[in-house]
């Protein structure tokens, strides 16, 4: 099994290189990480076809100089399939929603999910008893044109392109949903787009704006997924973007929740989120798009500003310096302890083959601690380290302070306004479903308990201050 030399730390490709040199007298520079090879011979894996970059007058580096198109594609698809099967991301009874931004990673995710579905369909048609159903696939695009500086026409055009791309990926047919973050507001309000604009405008911090949009995007995807009966949400989050997220979380004081965001499976959401492309870098995905003619949409945002932009340029700089840096960062962060929700919920469906269930049990992380009740930030849904527990029960606490204190420290700093007055207005601008998440769920119980012990209580206020 050939390893992906970009990520592999051992020098196995170098050994293959040595074997290659015996049969083909080509000049090679033989450096350790193989980044400078000028291999003009054949693909390292199949030893038959020419490598990808050989046609373009040589000068290709990295994977393009080592592998032919077929082996490269097979390698990448292999990584995708391994991630999916070992984490039971997609089972026959699932209805999978692919989040599509038009970028390189989500295009590849869509393509691979489609190919997987096609194979399942073929197997289904070929099998005699038709016991294994084929999983369903849908595609969702989040339209942020109301808050981003993209022209209405530009968006319309892009959406049409995406529609046609999705329709070409049939059979099986896939439904295409366009959802706006503004849809998070309760249905019926005609001024949803305005409210959204005001909300984003109320955030002072540039990075906070960016991040709030990102969180709302996820909530919108969750909404469309649960309303349309999807059971899994596939994101095209790849190694490169995860590396940036690792640094971003560290820089924003979110070290505690970092391990929740970077695992293959994230089941704290109503519709579990899975990352099948977690082990692929943006570079690999771009190469694949290029050789397979998968066109990314022009709509993808330019460089993020603020701290997120600083971090992407930093990671890019490190990556140029050492091509395996992104993988190292993700690997390091992967050694942090995940949470109990970072695995696919146990499947109890009888339709799912026993093999899948057994495989899931094998790969599921053993819970290191008993399932503790984590509290989650109402805005970004990250587990909050306990110092911000809201004061329950005391009716005198302002509900807005309660909301603020239930948020994680990063959201408190960069998203929420700093003073009380603006806080009230800000809460009114947030979608109701977000604000509702912060209400302590124990209120009802607490009142009942209080009734029972009322005669022994000495002061008016509760124990928690």
């Amino acid at each position: 099994m050939a390893c992906n030399s970009g990520n592999c730390q051992s020098n196995c490709h170098q050994n293959e290189q040595v074997a290659e040199n015996d049969s083909i007298p080509t000049p090679t520079t033989g450096s350790n990480d193989g980044g400078h090879q000028q291999q003009q011979g054949v693909c390292l894996k199949c030893k038959v076809s020419p490598p990808i970059s050989s046609g373009s007058g040589g000068g290709g580096t990295g994977d393009e100089a080592r592998f032919c198109a077929d082996c490269f594609r097979a390698n990448l698809f292999g990584k995708f399939r391994l991630a999916v099967t070992s984490h039971a991301m997609i089972t026959p009874s699932d209805n999978v929603l692919v989040a599509f931004s038009g970028g390189v990673a989500s295009r590849v995710a869509l393509q691979f999910v489609h190919e997987m579905q096609q194979r399942a369909q073929k197997n289904y048609e070929a099998s005699k008893d038709r016991s294994l159903p084929v999983f369903g696939v849908g595609v969702a695009f989040v339209d942020e044109s109301s808050v981003c500086s993209i022209s209405k026409d530009g968006v319309e055009e892009a959406i049409q392109e995406m529609k046609s791309t999705v329709s070409k990926l049939a059979p099986p047919v896939k439904q295409f949903h366009v959802v706006s973050s503004a849809s998070l507001y309760s249905s019926g309000s005609s001024d949803e787009k305005d409210r959204l604009k005001k909300l984003i405008g109320a955030v002072d911090d540039v990075t906070g704006k960016d991040d709030l949009l990102m969180h709302l995007r996820m909530w919108a995807l969750q909404k469309v997924a649960s309303e349309n009966g999807y059971t899994k949400l596939v994101l095209g989050l790849c190694t490169s973007r995860i590396a940036c997220h690792v640094i971003a979380a560290t820089v924003k004081g979110q070290g505690y929740s970092l391990s929740a965001d970077i695992q293959y499976v994230d089941a704290r959401w109503e519709v579990p989120v899975v990352l099948p492309l977690r082990d692929c870098t943006t570079q690999e995905l771009s190469i694949l798009c290029r050789i397979d003619g998968l066109k990314p949409s022009q709509l993808v945002n330019d460089l993020p500003s603020g701290i997120n932009g600083l971090i992407s340029s930093f990671v890019r700089l490190l990556q140029e310096e050492n091509p395996s840096r992104e993988s190292t960062i993700v690997r390091t962060a992967g050694k942090l302890t995940p949470f109990h929700f970072n695995r696919v919920p146990e499947i109890n469906d009888s339709n799912v083959p026993l093999a899948t269930i057994r495989r899931q049990k094998r790969y599921n992380l053993k819970p290191q601690e008993s399932i503790s009740s984590e509290s989650f930030c109402p805005i970004c849904n990250s587990p909050v380290i306990d110092s911000n527990s809201p004061s329950w029960g005391s009716p005198k606490t302002c509900q807005f302070t309660e909301f603020a204190s239930s948020c994680c420290s990063s959201c408190q700093f960069q998203i929420l306004p700093q003073d009380q007055l603006s806080m009230k207005e800000f809460c009114s601008l947030l979608p109701e479903r977000l604000v509702a998440r912060s209400k302590p769920k124990y209120n009802g119980n607490l009142d009942m308990l209080r009734e029972q012990i009322q005669d022994c209580l000495l002061s008016d206020s509760d124990g928690e201050t």
Partner: protein
Amino acid sequence: MEEGNTIAKRAGSRLCCLCNERKPALKRPKTLEQICRDCFYNVFEEEIHQVIVGNHLFKAGERVAIGASGGKDSTVLAYVMSELNRRHNYGLDLFLLSVDEGITGYRDDSLETVKRNEVQYGLPLKIVSYKDLYGWTMDEIVKVIGLKNNCTFCGVFRRQALDRGAAYLKVDKLVTGHNADDIAETVLLNILRGDVARLSRCTSITTGEDGPIPRCKPFKYTYEKEIVMYAYFKKLDYFSTECIYSPNAYRGFAREFIKDLERMRPRAIVDIIKSGENFRISTSTKMPEQGTCERCGYISSQKWCKACVLLEGLNRGLPKLGIGRSRFLENSNDNRKEAKRNDGDRSIESKQCGSLDF
């Protein structure tokens, strides 16, 4: 892109934020508050005092050595420690401990500064030199091994040198001037290099409690910029040049990034440290087992301590001994762990110096 907006706006009233009496003389790097000099001294010293007291760094009657290089961090540390010791009656016996690596044009100059500090602050000084301890100066080492991996030698030797100096002075603790920027850089570096074990230890304010001499970092939450500001306003005497062998250090990447970050969001430095403290790292992660070096008796997780391994290499004319991933050594098993740490070093530095033969 400043984010202390509300605070900056409030301070437009042209009086110090804290005392509301005097005119502001500076903007505090940590919080961007506009305050006067006296308030700055107060809040600077008070925050350090709170860190010392809140983390129970010292006990009355302890003998404490201050690692003094002559640079701004250690000079300010010596000044503030003696000041707080007096003001709050910590009851500590303070000493200055300095290491002479034998780098001409750098260390010999900074040592002069430390000798002046000895007089200025009235703290007894002890200098330990690589020449005396190991028989090699850094200049000689660099002549043999070149400009790659010299930081490894210096760091390993310095650690032992400080411990030996501390033992000579019979002190109970060692304090170093590592500031918030240093610790934030280290957290980032450990993430970039894949060192989870170090990641879990690097944010501790006290380390080595189970070793020969515990060390603490009272400046853990103090910004480098504020230390410079303090030294500037108090006109403290310090030596301000970088080590002449340091330009290729990988830490430079992290440092650049943090400087840019600080400009955008000053509190990010403390946020990095907070993230580092909160990382969920399993305590069952395999930590190195502690033993003693067979050759010199110093604390070590392998048969020989790293300093002995490196020295052996130098003395036998094998400068690469103990560096990088070694395949042909008797102790190859032991060195693989250290080697992994240096591996990143090697691939980066080999690129920067352009030489592929390692």
